[in-house]
Amino acid sequence: MNEATHIEHRDYTGAKLGMWLFLFTEIMLFGGMFLLYSIYRTTYTTDFHEAAKEMSVTIGAINTVILLTSSLTMALSISALQRAEKRRSLLFQAVTILLGLAFLVNKYFEWTGHIRHGYYPNSPELLAMSHGKVLYFGLYYVMTGIHGIHVLIGLGVICFTFILTVRGTSSSTDYIKLENTGLFWHLVDVIWIYLFPLFYLIT
């Protein structure tokens, strides 16, 4: 028997289990950064408190609402596909992508704003500030940066599932790829749910 016709039956629960296990690794990856945050926050409480004043709660809140809504649209896209409502699923996937892009655009403006004020790693302005503030901004860029990379990757994968849905490869009888993509996207949302208060709401 040729290797190409090897394994045909699919394991829906197994595929989902594999994705959950992968999400555990993402939790541990961000966990390392949350460890650094919690240690430095405890050591430099006042500095963190002061530095957070530079953050715009408005932009942060808007981004939070954007991501929460994108989680909704993602979940709805899966429901739609499960009910064989292909066009509705495509619509919700597209909206999710747009919301994700909006998040990244906001982030871009946020970052450039801070950079223009001189708040970036190793800048002369930052180095003149107290230690806690230097670390706060370091953590801010690294954590929201790596989170942003995950948003970007998520958007790429949703574009991929969009194509699969168009082609009918993902359908009401086989939607595990979309579902697993949804799981990834929701985790990205969950991470932001923690990043938002930890960076924006500690004044």
């Binding site: 289990l17 939790i27 809504t69 979940a75 429901s79 009910r83 949804g182 930890l198 709401l201 500690i202």
Partner: protein, 94 residues
């Protein structure tokens, strides 16, 4: 034989969860404005964890998954808790 997900969540449920998340977001912003000192960190984390739980339970379908998924999820949580907790044994008592 194709396995299927047995339970489909209704759109209404999703929208209610979303609404709850928005409300909780508003609450956490309001809580941050109140002067609670050390308690504000705890309050924010509690609200964040509630939001995260809603996403996990409904959006990520964990409520309706087999028990093994729920049990396994505790493992990275426990690991992270140990990781961060034990490091604090060092930092706090230096």
């Amino acid at each position: 034989m194709e396995e299927k997900q047995e339970h489909y969540i209704r759109t209404k449920t999703f929208i209610l969860v979303w609404a709850a998340l928005i409300v909780l977001t508003a609450m956490t912003i309001t809580a941050a404005r109140m002067r609670m000192g050390e308690w504000s960190m705890l309050a924010n984390l509690l609200i964040a964890s509630t939001k995260a739980s809603l996403v996990l339970w409904f959006f990520m379908h964990l409520k309706y998954e087999k028990k093994i998924f729920k049990m396994l999820f505790l493992i990275p949580i426990a690991t992270l808790t140990i990781m961060i907790g034990f490091t604090f044994f060092d930092i706090w008592y230096r």
